[in-house]
């Protein structure tokens, strides 16, 4: 059963000759882990923005099954977490009834120590820790769908490793689906069971991650795989 689906979505921005999205359709099943990959400008983030309701499609529609709660992780923790808030307050925001135990559990789910970090500001922790705080913030409301936009692209190698481990652990231990935008096929292989390849606003390939990466059907997918090896 799909909990999120985009049906023939096209998005045109004023002044742009080409559509940002051109008849894009895909869905995310209950408990399914899906990655969207493609180069910059391929329409990954636009798809995500439309799926989340941050932007409206020019045509087509988005369907979200009830009840679906969504946890959201942005690309850059330095921009998505308020620099003048402490970690605990960041994680609690916008979720009524969240107590210390919930914040502690959410931080522990991404291997962060509540006692060490809860009263710190984002500027006092590393980029990798900050992105895991962002994931904890997304988890504290117990979402059924975790949506992340390039969650490892703004952190260093060690931070990236910790984030991938945290996301894998969350995917394994929590009953949720995930939709993660990535440009790194290696990360997509670790975090998804299904992969959607986008090029110039279109979905060019959609299938099981292992199968698509082993036997790409589209020339662009093969080019991406080749570029990742290089």
């Amino acid at each position: 059963m799909s909990i999120l689906s985009l049906n023939h979505v096209t998005k045109r921005y004023r002044g742009s000759a080409l559509p940002a999205l051109d008849d894009v359709s895909f869905s995310v099943g209950d408990g399914e882990h899906v990655a969207i990959v493609g180069e910059s400008g391929s329409g990954k983030t636009t798809s995500l923005n439309i799926a989340l309701g941050f932007d409206v499609p020019s045509s087509g529609d988005v369907q979200v099954a009830e009840p679906t709660t969504t946890g959201l992780v942005f690309q850059n923790p330095a921009a998505s977490l308020d620099p003048r808030w402490r970690v605990e307050r960041i994680v609690r925001e916008g979720v009524p009834g969240v107590g210390e135990a919930d914040v502690r559990a959410a931080l522990e789910a991404v291997s962060l120590d509540y006692d060490e970090l809860a009263q710190r500001y984002i500027s006092d922790i590393s980029g990798g820790q900050a992105q895991r705080v962002a994931i904890a913030r997304a988890l504290v409301s117990h979402p059924t769908l975790l949506v992340a936009d390039e969650p490892v692209s703004a952190v260093d190698v060690l931070g990236k490793k910790h984030i991938i481990e945290s996301l894998r652990s969350v995917q394994n231990e929590r009953s949720l689906a995930s939709l993660i935008v990535l440009h790194d096929l290696g990360v997509a292989q670790q975090l998804s069971e299904r992969i959607i390849v986008m090029q110039a606003g279109r979905v060019v390939e959609d299938g099981a991650t292992a199968e698509v990466l082993a036997h790409p059907q589209h020339r662009y997918t093969a080019q991406l795989i080749d570029a990742a090896r290089w």
């Binding site: 941050f54 959201l72 921009a79 820790q129």
Partner: protein, 286 residues
């Protein structure tokens, strides 16, 4: 914690001491002054400092120290009122100029840009015209102009904060627009607000002097530093010493308020004050 940080640094402590003394002198003047404001001695005009008149007398034979003491209260009231009104009007305007509603945003930006071109003197004239010169007119004229200036200075940073991803996230989680402004946007622009308001307070003292000199500021029977300076300024070539005291007080107050504003900005911001972050900044990062 902010006060503790402030008194640990010279640029916080010294202006703070001046402001506290200023307020105390103003308070004392409400209960006691060496002479009454109306006391004049026709036989002792332009008198040099003496035991009877520690700062001398002016051209009417009035005690300069008495007028400056009483002026401290007026000046302090003006500064406090201008700070409060500028902050309230300015921050309110900033809130409208970065509102989520595009219509509210564009109308408020248009109004701010239109009003900002009007000089303080013109606003003071408009306010003073129906009821005559008054302290209230000075306060309102200064506050309106400085609030518009605050909106102009702070709006770009507030707009950037309003477009930030943590605001997008808060909105996505259903946090109200009011809470978003107070909890996310305002703290980001508070350093600029503090600097602009402290600068406005300092400028208000100068504006009060200027407006009073022009006859549209503090009325003649009300003591203020600007009043004392305006009185002395007419005879500054003959009796320069009488202009020194109000001039010195105004200069020191302006400098103190500007320096204090800068120190408060640093001490009140967790990004620049390690004490507010709980002194844990030096711990090893992951």
């Amino acid at each position: 914690m902010i006060l503790r940080s402030l008194i640990r640094r010279w640029d916080g402590l010294l202006p703070l001491i001046f402001v506290v003394l200023w307020a105390l002198v103003g308070l004392v003047s409400l209960l006691w002054t060496p002479y009454a404001l109306t006391d004049t001695d026709g036989y002792s005009v332009w008198a040099a400092p003496s035991a009877a008149h520690v700062l001398g007398t002016d051209g009417a034979g009035a005690d300069i120290a008495t007028w400056l003491m009483a002026g401290s209260a007026t000046e302090f009231a003006i500064v406090v009122a201008v700070i409060a009104l500028t902050a309230v009007l300015g921050v309110g305007g900033v809130a409208l100029s970065v509102a989520h509603s595009a219509r509210v945003r564009s109308v408020s930006v248009l109004v701010i840009d239109a009003l900002i071109s009007i000089p303080t003197v013109v606003i003071a004239l408009i306010l003073a015209a129906p009821a005559g010169a008054s302290v209230l007119a000075v306060i309102l004229a200064c506050s309106i102009v400085y609030a518009l200036n605050l909106m102009r200075v702070v709006r770009p940073a507030a707009a950037a904060a309003a477009r930030s991803q943590y605001v997008v996230y808060a909105r996505y989680k259903g946090v109200s627009e009011w809470r978003i402004f107070v909890q996310h946007i305002l703290p980001q622009v508070m350093p600029s607000v503090i600097i602009t308001v402290s600068h406005s307070a300092a400028t208000a003292i100068l504006a009060e002097s200027g407006l009073t000199y022009l006859g549209i500021g503090v009325p003649a029977h009300v003591a203020s530093w600007g009043q004392s300076l305006a009185t002395a300024a007419r005879f500054v070539t003959l009796h320069p010493a009488t202009a020194i005291w109000p001039g010195l007080l105004i200069t020191v107050a302006v400098i103190a308020l500007n320096i204090l504003g800068d120190a408060v900005r640093e001490c009140a911001d967790p990004l620049t004050n390690p004490l507010l972050r709980g002194d844990r900044t030096q711990e090893v990062k992951n």
